[in-house]
Symmetry: C2
Subunit: 501 residues, 2 copies
């Protein structure tokens, strides 16, 4: 008698977000929906902040319409989204009324499972969305950002899991976005959560493949009683993406665990994306191998490259090593926040400033806000001296209340602003789109009627170097005015180019 | 108290054989030898059939000299080679005297660990080389080709391990060249071998990464008591290659197992090959992702593509499905040989013939030899009717003796033939080079004095299309569509330019 291990398929959200810069067009997903819907997944993750953003920013596609399409094409399967707690899909705290409206509309349009996390692991930032999900009758999954620090012990994580359960979460997710979760901690963590929250508490593990160790971690999590794991079909897996679904299914043979996922259907989905993926070549992440650097530095790769380019911008490209040594100190001073968006950028920038300008001589506004509690509370105590400096710098006091408690109702204002935009359709969904991305939404509302774009390109036509361009003589410079037909973001422009006078 | 898990590094042999068509030049390996030698590996695999072949066929390099170089540069570390039992590094059975001479010379030139296998898992084909290794005082490792069939039970493999131990092997290797070894069988197999051969029997596991499951298998093998595992530095890992060394080291943290390998040195080796690898771009295997197909078909990918091209050559490209169904039947009729070189080709070709010409209407010479025992014995009974047909076809009887027992001493002939070749230096090593590759050696002896080649190329210079084409054209008009990468306000745009229609 085998125990069933459930699987969440990431192909439609996190997989192409991690591997193809979130550029995959809906039309390239529609052909696999029937197989996904019938494969027997516990859920299909298909919606989240970056996909929403990419829809309106690059694909001229209404993200709500995308969701409704998935709902229609996958009637049998739980549709899952990733929600940044009080930040929803945006980058600031929203007032509770907006959070409630967003959750309600997401549920109405098709979401069944809301995976809710907060970058600081502050449960207060999750509370309104959890309550809102419970009100809709949908599945509220409380996620714990996995990170490593002296304070992030197994018991500390298990305690957070218990809080999330007490807040009404239907399941607990260990969210390992940096592929830091090694096999033994994975085992210990699942065991501790089950022990503390009850064996019937659903535990879901999300990891990335970056460091090459996490398929083993998933196996150990399963041995510890984990109920659901996240994977992506093999053609959209590995590198900064996730572990392959096919491998997960196959490796369980004989172990006493099995999935209910239909491998034949998974292979068809994977074959489809194997064909599609080369069309998005220009968005490929170059690094598809394994990178274990993060185990050493404890600093996510993206954060390192950010700091590197900041340093280079200041002509101090040679001081990265000092900055890497400064990061753990800044992290400690700020109470050991997990290093994910946005805290990774905030801590990283402050570390750069400390190295270039002297220790806390200059504070970024965001770092002050982090110190003063405006993002939420951290697991550790803050350095009181740095806290004092932050108060002086920001000219405001530290807070201990939930940040969103300071906000006043904003729905009416958002609604008025959104509905005044040309092309807005008057729906609550449009107001929410505007609320999430106020800079991008106006342009999207204007162009929406032109229909959605597919940025995928025939890989054969994508290699200009193979064609013989007929350029002008002498070094390819122009000798006379020429007119060209130029295609940019799918739009044709008639352009005249002339030699410089 | 952690238990030590030892590691064999594959970068210098199987890793570039699997990923870069064995083309890596010695000069690209020399810079990492010091780090490899001091990293604390149990052994460094650096020699074998394909590397030997590639040296004289493509790199104009004396493989014996390569071995001596490794010996000099890695004085502290066991150097390991892969030996095909009675076939040595070639494709036929050699008479015992040649086997003994080859082993003696390999040991003298630097090999410490001889991993010895036979494609049929016939221990008689391993005996002479095992005895020869023991005579030199070096380490004889008996390898079991892992395969899946109704007869290849855990107990059958453990029985073979026991035979190898009784024949004097210092350690046992489970050799999983097709990435078929799932976690539970890995665990069961190691347990069974330890139970049967004694807990102090060193068990070494070799797997490839192809199917994406085998790092988990290595973990389960370790939990079962496996002593040594094979990995390759991350920049030469994954796809048809192996699991990454760095990931192996990192994943053990906290598990009660640890390696003694110095991660810093491994990272330096890996960084070196990350720089070198792009220079061998033209030899890249395209498929670097995960492929679980073999679990379904039980037929290695290389074998499928061979059969496919055979079928296409016969204008029967549409009959692959029939052939794939025929393979298990042909395999059963021939006593369930493991499907590795050369049996995979032999069984595959016969399956193609059966489908195209009618069941066993035509027998290949190799298939007849396989049926009649000229490659050795198989685990299963042969189909007596097909056996009879093979006797008729081949006009010779089935044998039950060890194939090499039919051979007469051949050293003197080989020696005379080799030494008569222009450029041969009169050494036993040259005679052995000639014995292994009689078609290739003569040309190599002739050109050897010109020195070794490096087929790696500056990746920048490898794309002639990037050079500025100097074309004619009045006023710089385009005759064809061209794509450019245009940076405008810091944003990159891919722009397509076409002549006005």
């Amino acid at each position: 008698m085998s125990r069933i291990v459930e699987i969440t398929e990431l192909a439609l959200r996190d997989a192409h977000q991690s591997l193809l810069a979130t550029r995959m067009a809906l039309d390239d997903m529609i052909p696999v929906c029937e197989d996904l819907d019938n494969a027997g997944y516990w859920s299909v993750e298909c919606w989240g902040g970056a996909t929403f953003d990419s829809c309106i920013r690059f694909l001229n596609e209404d993200p709500w319409e995308r969701l409704r399409t998935f709902r229609k094409l996958m009637p049998k399967t739980r549709l899952q989204m990733l929600l940044r707690g009080q930040n929803l899909l945006g980058y600031r705290h929203y007032e509770d009324g907006v959070v409630e409206r967003f959750v309600e509309k997401s549920a109405q349009n098709g979401i069944d499972v809301f995976r809710i996390f907060d970058a600081l692991n502050d449960p207060r930032n999750l509370k309104t969305s959890i309550d809102a999900v419970k009100k809709t009758g949908k599945h509220a999954q409380g996620a714990i950002c996995y990170t490593v620090s002296p304070l992030h012990t197994v018991e500390a994580f298990a305690e957070m899991a218990e809080q999330l359960r007490e807040m009404g979460c239907d399941s607990i997710c260990i969210k390992d976005m940096a592929a830091l979760l090694r096999p033994q901690p994975a085992y210990d963590l699942v065991k501790a959560i089950k022990r503390r929250c009850g064996a019937d508490t659903l535990v879901h593990v999300h990891t990335h493949a970056t460091t090459g160790v996490t398929l083993v971690s998933l196996m150990k999590a399963i041995e510890a009683g984990c109920d659901i794991v996240d994977t992506a079909v093999s053609s959209l897996s590995l590198g900064p993406g996730h572990n392959p679904t096919e491998s997960m299914i196959e490796l369980l043979a004989g172990t006493g665990y099995e999935t209910r996922v239909d491998l034949e259907r998974v292979l068809r989905v994977s074959a489809h994306f194997a064909q599609i993926r080369p069309r998005y070549k220009e968005f490929f992440s170059e690094n598809t191998g394994v990178d274990t650097e993060i185990f050493k530095s404890q600093i996510p790769g993206g954060m390192i490259s950010n700091m590197e380019s900041q340093l280079k911008g200041q002509g101090a490209g040679d001081r990265l090593k000092e900055v890497l040594e400064e990061v753990p100190r800044v992290r400690k001073d700020s109470g050991y926040p997990p290093l994910v968006t946005p805290t990774s950028q905030i801590v990283g920038s402050q570390a750069v400033f400390n190295v270039l300008m002297g220790k806390y001589k200059v504070l970024t506004g965001e770092f002050s806000d982090l110190m003063l509690g405006y993002y939420g509370s951290t697991i550790g105590e803050k350095n009181p001296e740095v806290l004092k400096q932050a108060e002086v710098h920001a000219k405001k006091p530290a807070i201990t209340v939930r940040p969103a408690d300071l906000l006043t109702p904003e729905w009416d204002n958002l609604s008025a602003a959104a509905n005044a935009l040309p092309g807005a359709n008057g729906s609550d969904e449009d107001v929410l789109t505007y609320a999430m991305f106020p800079q991008v939404a106006p342009k999207f509302f204007l162009s929406r009627a032109q229909g959605r774009k597919n940025l995928g390109k025939d890989p054969a036509s994508k290699t200009p170097e193979q064609k013989t361009p007929t350029a002008a003589g002498g070094g390819g410079s122009l000798s006379a005015k020429v007119s060209y037909l130029i295609t940019l973001n799918g739009n044709e422009h008639r352009v005249t180019v002339a030699p410089e006078r």
